[in-house]
Amino acid sequence: MDVLVQMMANAPLLSIIIFLPLAGAIIITLMSPARTHTIKWFAFWVSVVTFGISLFLLAGGGSFEHFSHVEQYTWLPQIGVSYHIGVDGISLWLVLLTTLLLPVSILSSFSAITKREKEYYILLLLMGFALAGTFVALDLFLFFLFWEAVLIPMYLLIGIWGSGRRIYAATKFVLYTVVGSFFMLLAIIGLYVYADSLGHATFDFIWLRSHLAPPELQTWFFLAFFLAFAIKVPLFPFHTWLADAHTEAPTAGSVLLAALLLKMGGYGFIRFCLTLFPEASVSAAPWVMALAVISIIYGALVCAAQTDFKRLIALSSVAHMGFVMLGIFSFANTSIGQVGATIQMVNHGVTTGALFLLVGVVYERRHTREIAQYGGLAAVMPQYYNVFLITMLASVGLPALNGFVGEFLILLGAFRADWALGGLATFGVVLAAIYLLTMFRKVFHGECTNPENRKLLDLNARELGYLVPLVLLMLWIGLYPKPYLGAIKPAVDNTVKSVMRIATGSISYARSGEKAAAVLAQVQPAEPTGGDA
């Protein structure tokens, strides 16, 4: 075993994680479309192996404060592009989440997908490839490459295997995302030109991080990046693609969308915006926080009115990702908010992913997403009821489940940064309970009147196989988040250092009430001085 660990420690882990799915996809292209069984299992095992390998990232036991497992090869020296990847505490868990959810979503599709399986599994593997790449790229050029590479597979996934207005949804998804990303490309080129003007033409994140652009430039770049990421997240006014895409996509598609694609936005913010444009981020913080709070409240309220099972969960992501945004931009003299946001991204991935899988389970049996069509399932599908209950509670943010850890930290940080917005956001916790529990009630409680539902089968082994791990993860993160936070904290501190220095200088936290500040002056030893420590 140790030998294996050693071997893996030296191997280019990240590259393997990224390219294994791609290789798998290519191999599948050579298979005959008729042999669906082989294709399914092959895809599944490829993803499982990838996951297994990705676990070795942890084996080294090193701290993830700085980028580890870094690989850098010059690619296009003429234009200063290099294949530069690495993982730190922030991206680590997102990468693992990706490699975990890939097999899960593949497994969840076995019986759900009945046409053109070959293409389907190829595309899923491609998604895994692109997503993993996005989270580890340390070269803006490379990052953009992976970022865009996600679009087409998802477009086809929604378009071909989706339901209802799938073509509309797919097109909307691509166009909407493209709008953001091309502006980001412009900003990336701008950064490149700026680097060039310093006599070092490069897209390299590490270099750019140590040579920040002047504030007025930052503002423009920030806006461009902001648009791209805000659409992905999605932040309040840019969220309408989400409902359609998530709703019409096939189950696995929704899972990947909610669990990972949205994270690309949050990750982008914390990795690039905060690091490369600290001044801009700080001055934008109040606005972004405001938008985040609007997303939280608005998303929750809109959810409450949904009659479509999947659409409701989709929109709930707006609210939940609002929390993440709030955390990322809550600049105080502590990094609690950002740490919370980072862990919350993982949580949301697990929880919402599981929710979509659960919806998929009944959708596959009943082929309807109308909440009204269900009711009284608790009696018919007890296992399903329990799993759903736990997942939903995690999503509501019940303590001792993963959702709470993230939301608590985020709100703690946000409250420090701006007590008013923090307080408002806290109210989102109440709303989450309202819409989720109401939905839960409609679906599971009451007499099971509809004969269709009476003969519904409970979860089978395969379904349990991909749901239980997620549930365990919810409990683990909820009860003992230490390992996760332990890896995240140093990396986040290290990431937000510069932002914090600026933020604590500026007004953005004096707003937590002069009174409190005054008191803080007197109270101490216990004055919290986190973040930049």
Binding site: I79, E148, I152, I160, R166, T171, V174, L175, L186
Partner: protein, 494 residues
């Protein structure tokens, strides 16, 4: 330079010499073989192209070679363009025989004309005086007028040839008239000379008039709005291989020389023509995109897309900095590869009696011909400028050049247009992958819903397939590992 008729290093002329000879030879052979030797002619032509390529390689002008007292100056830049032209010609040759046969045309002049036009393209980037430039452009265009209308059985083709010719001649008249004024005000037609002997600022009106008229000509050849109107009609009407040849070749050659004219001859006047081109670029991009949105015919769609791309390329001209040269050239190559590939598929799938494919015909292609569908998708992505394709690198380089020159506003317009363009390129992908056979993609508009045969796509024959594969490879290679090309471009710019 002066007036001395020093022949200079004629060896540099060898490649296009080969091509011209080949052209004449092909005519003769055609007569000998009584016009029943379509394939053989093509083969012969291919051989000639390869020979020319070798010659080009052997006499690669590491140090620029002057010919005819500097009327032609061969340098690396010209050589790279020449190579590209040869490649395009070769691909066209591979496409042609099968297509010519399918359309029931005679081989002979067809190939000869192709070769003549190609020789003009090879000369263009080397041309150093307005006269030689204009002559070369004519040399490129005249054969194409004929080729456009070559498919005489089809009204479309006849009409295309007719329109192309009438408007082309019209435009070149402007060009020549412009040249007259430039010469009159500067006393020289050598690009280098013009830059040196500009009249004093106050009496530049005539010079600018001349420049303006000259730009009209270039605008026409490069399909800038409002001189673009012929493009869709001609592209749609011409025999598909010819369309490919035009789209890739003419754009390449003319843009190359356009770049030279502006940057070697007119740089001191930059402040003037930048404004003009700026406006043209905006109109071109927007118009091209908007008109492309609702096209039913894939060929016509590509025509409009070529207009749009011309608009993007003007960014490089406006920027007119060192970066722009290699950027524009790279972009042209990337575009050429993608457009030839897609047109090869159009030719391969051409519905009976139309020499064209409607987007609605593409339905179900992904399932029937996955590889071809994949390739077409790749080309579409490259045209959008999606990562891992040549188009992406091209766009990045181009935008970089423009950004560096400080044309942010223009860039933003370009970017917005790129977003819009995603929609219609995706329509093609959508038709192939998503839309099932039975249901309609968009309500096919009455005028052009002709070929809605519902995905009766003929399998792709090997010549088409070869071209498709080659262009696909090029698109990918230029997208992933364009190292060496970038190196050459950086060395052999001017």
């Amino acid at each position: 330079m002066g007036v001395s008729f020093a022949a200079g290093k004629v060896s540099a002329l060898l490649p296009m010499g080969v091509i011209v000879l080949a052209a004449l030879l092909l005519v003769l052979l055609d007569v000998l073989w009584r016009g029943r030797a379509n394939r053989r002619l093509a083969a012969m032509g291919a051989v000639a192209v390869i020979v020319a390529g070798i010659a080009q390689l052997v006499y690669f002008p590491r140090i620029p070679a002057q010919v005819f007292s500097g009327a032609l100056k061969f340098d690396g830049f010209a050589a790279i363009v020449a190579f590209a032209v040869l490649a395009i010609l070769l691909l066209t040759l591979i496409l042609s025989p099968a297509h010519v046969a399918r359309m029931g045309l005679r081989g002979g002049e067809y190939y000869a004309l192709l070769f003549l036009s190609a020789s003009g393209m090879m000369l263009l980037p080397a041309a150093r005086g307005l006269v030689s430039i204009i002559i070369c452009i004519e040399l490129v265009s005249l054969p194409l007028y004929v080729l456009a209308g070559y498919n005489r059985r089809l009204a479309f083709s006849r009409e295309a040839g007719f329109k192309y010719f009438l408007l082309g001649a019209f435009a070149s008249a402007f060009m020549i008239y412009g040249a007259a004024f430039i010469w009159g005000t500067t006393g020289t037609l050598w690009l280098s000379g013009i830059a040196e002997s500009l009249p004093s600022p106050e009496n530049r009106a005539l010079l600018l008039l001349g420049l303006g008229l000259l730009l009209v000509g270039f605008g026409f050849k490069t399909a800038l709005a409002p001189f673009h109107a012929w493009v869709p009609d001609v592209y749609e009407g011409s025999p598909t291989p010819v369309t490919a040849f035009m789209a890739a070749g003419v754009k390449l050659a003319v843009f190359a020389v356009f770049l030279r004219v502006l940057m070697e001859g007119m740089m001191p006047l930059a402040e003037f023509w930048r404004l003009g081109l700026y406006v043209l670029a905006v109109i071109t991009m927007c118009l091209g995109n908007l008109l492309a949105l609702h096209q039913m015919s894939l060929k016509r769609l590509l025509a409009y897309s070529s207009i749009t791309h011309a608009g993007y390329l003007v960014l490089g001209l406006v920027a007119a900095n060192a970066e722009a040269i290699s950027a524009v050239l790279f972009y042209l190559l990337a575009y050429g590869a993608a457009v030839i590939g897609s047109l090869a598929l159009v030719a391969a799938w051409a519905v009976r009696g139309t020499d064209d494919v409607y987007i609605s015909d593409l339905r179900g292609a992904a399932e029937r011909q996955p590889m071809a569908a994949l390739a077409l998708t790749l080309f579409m992505l490259s045209l959008i400028g999606f990562p891992i394709t040549a188009g992406f690198i091209g766009k990045v380089l181009l935008f970089y050049a423009a950004y560096k020159a400080g044309y942010i506003a223009l860039l933003i317009i370009a970017i917005i247009n790129t977003m819009v363009s995603v929609y219609y390129y995706l329509r093609v992908v959508q038709a192939m992958y998503i839309l099932p056979q039975e249901e309609r993609a968009k309500p096919a508009e009455p005028a052009k819903s002709g070929g809605d045969a519902g995905g009766a796509l003929s399998p792709v024959a090997w010549p088409y397939l070869t071209v498709v594969l080659v262009s696909a490879v090029v698109v990918l290679v230029l997208g992933l590992v364009p190292r060496s090309l970038l190196v050459w471009l950086s060395i052999y710019s001017f």
